[in-house]
């Protein structure tokens, strides 16, 4: 379990897959608007929310992530017209499957954040990080070999 060196508290690892065309720019806007979001959130830029293979999410958990969030354009606003509609179905089924095998359902989330929604980006990340703090470290889906 990663602990904060100064406070000794649990510091989760949160992976955020952000669509290049909206959420990634939304994160930029949050930054330039000086809105704070936790440093525990690590952003991975993807060309579209649809680029996220369900395996990416499992891989993130395997490598020690405590929570994974996928951010994409609002339905109807996809840069590639329909990518996020496919992502929506895929993620619904994947999250349902994770719940089915007994992984706490708060560890995964999908949020639609546009490039103009810096505030939404920061509040979403704050909320999500708070949820992961509440759930504690992810012990059910991690690869033990990744631990030292």
């Amino acid at each position: 379990m990663p602990l904060n060196e100064k406070t000794g508290e649990f510091t989760p690892k949160i992976v955020a897959f952000c669509c290049n065309w909206c959420s990634y720019a939304g994160a930029d806007l949050a930054g330039s608007s000086r809105l704070a979001y936790p440093a525990e959130v690590k952003i991975i830029r993807v060309p579209c929310s649809c680029r996220v293979n369900p395996m990416f999410i499992l891989r993130a958990f395997e490598k020690g992530a405590d929570g994974v969030i996928l951010c994409g354009c609002h339905p109807g606003d996809c840069h590639y017209s329909t990518g996020n509609y496919y992502a929506r179905r895929r993620m619904t089924l994947l999250f349902s499957m994770l719940d089915y095998i007994g992984v706490e359902k708060g560890r995964t989330r999908v949020e639609w954040v546009s490039a103009a929604e810096g505030v939404k980006f920061s509040t979403t990340m704050n909320e999500f990080a708070a949820k992961i703090h509440e759930l504690g470290p992810n012990v059910r889906l991690e690869d033990l070999r990744c631990k030292n």
Partner: protein, 325 residues
């Protein structure tokens, strides 16, 4: 059975087909194997009985690349897989001559063994027109087992006796449906997350990664498979920890989500007896409930739910309401 052999010989003789894809006798009565027959003489080893559970649709992918037509025997549930492969342009309809064979449910030798019968030397009475109970001969004597008690789980949730695609039909089929298909999935859904986790941990830790479930699945037939990649963390080897097995099985089921016809081959071939169909069925259940009833392979011109969408689809957050408490 003789009727099938005679018809196959006729079709071979008049040149309609150049080979026959069917089942031949295995080393025991309960393990016939899938085989190609190229001549009338070879057909003497042909067998079709209650243990011929193997779905031959997948073999048609390779047979479609061969010269000439192949005669293939499909049971009602196998025709769904064939339709699905046709839909995905994996098999060539013109290269197949399909004889729809009758089926009264297929048997599972494990179900027989589970009744405390061991040392099995022979099983008889499993033919299509056989009696209601099968005769199991063992080194300890003979036993009678009711046909339905020895049936595969998938036959208790039979999709129906109707062949979805065929050139001709031989033999009468029976609808053996006598259980709720989604009951087992619903039972797991009702558990708490800790119980669910413990259940799947116990089941999946048996996995030896033999890849039989992948290899037998008609839907799982990519030429290049992600599980063969050396970059993938659970490549060809036994699991080293509890995560690998879950990753493998979630991905395996996800790759066939929306295309799985629920033929039950994965669970039938699993040497460890893992109920793999529970993963596939969970996806089917979710798809049915969220995106409308869908049966893969019902027809050959459907659009699978995961390559389709509607503007009003449920948001992924619906899992929070539907999932475990």
């Amino acid at each position: 059975m003789q009727e099938l052999i005679n018809r196959a010989k006729e079709l071979l003789a008049d040149g309609t087909v150049v080979r026959v894809l069917g089942w031949r006798k295995g080393d025991m009565d309960y393990n016939p194997e899938v085989a190609y027959f190229n001549s009338a003489e070879e057909l003497d080893n042909f067998v079709y009985d209650g243990f011929c559970g193997a779905n031959l649709s997948k073999y048609m992918i390779e047979a479609s690349k061969l010269e000439g037509k192949t005669l293939v025997f499909l049971k009602p549930c196998d025709t769904y897989s064939f339709n699905q492969l046709l839909c995905e342009h994996r098999v060539d309809r013109d290269k197949a001559y399909i004889i729809g064979v009758g089926c009264r449910g297929k048997l599972d030798i494990e179900k027989v063994k589970a009744q405390g019968i061991s040392g099995i030397t022979a099983v008889s009475g499993t033919e299509l027109d056989g009696p209601d109970s099968i005769k199991v001969s063992t080194i300890y004597g003979d036993f009678d087992v009711a046909y339905t008690d020895a049936m595969l789980e998938r036959c208790h949730v039979c999709k129906g006796k109707e062949h979805k695609i065929y050139d001709e039909l031989i033999g009468e089929s029976k609808d053996t449906h006598d259980m709720d298909r989604m009951a087992a999935v619903a039972a797991i859904e009702a558990m708490s997350p800790t119980e669910k986790f413990a259940y799947f941990q116990a089941e999946l830790s048996k996995c030896i990664r033999c890849n039989a479930c992948r290899n037998v699945c008609p839907a799982c037939s990519c030429r290049k498979c992600v599980f063969d990649s050396t970059k993938f963390d659970s490549q060809q080897k036994a699991n080293v920890d509890s995560f690998e097995e879950k990753m493998f099985h979630i991905i395996r089921a996800f790759h066939v989500a929306g295309r799985c016809t629920d033929c039950g081959e994965c669970s039938r071939v699993c040497p460890q007896g893992i109920p793999l169909h529970l993963f596939n069925r969970k996806f089917i259940k979710d798809i049915d409930e969220l995106y409308g009833k869908y049966q893969a392979g019902e027809t050959a011109d459907q659009r699978a739910p995961l390559v389709n969408f509607t503007f009003g689809d449920a948001e992924p957050s619906i899992v929070n309401e539907r999932g475990s408490k």
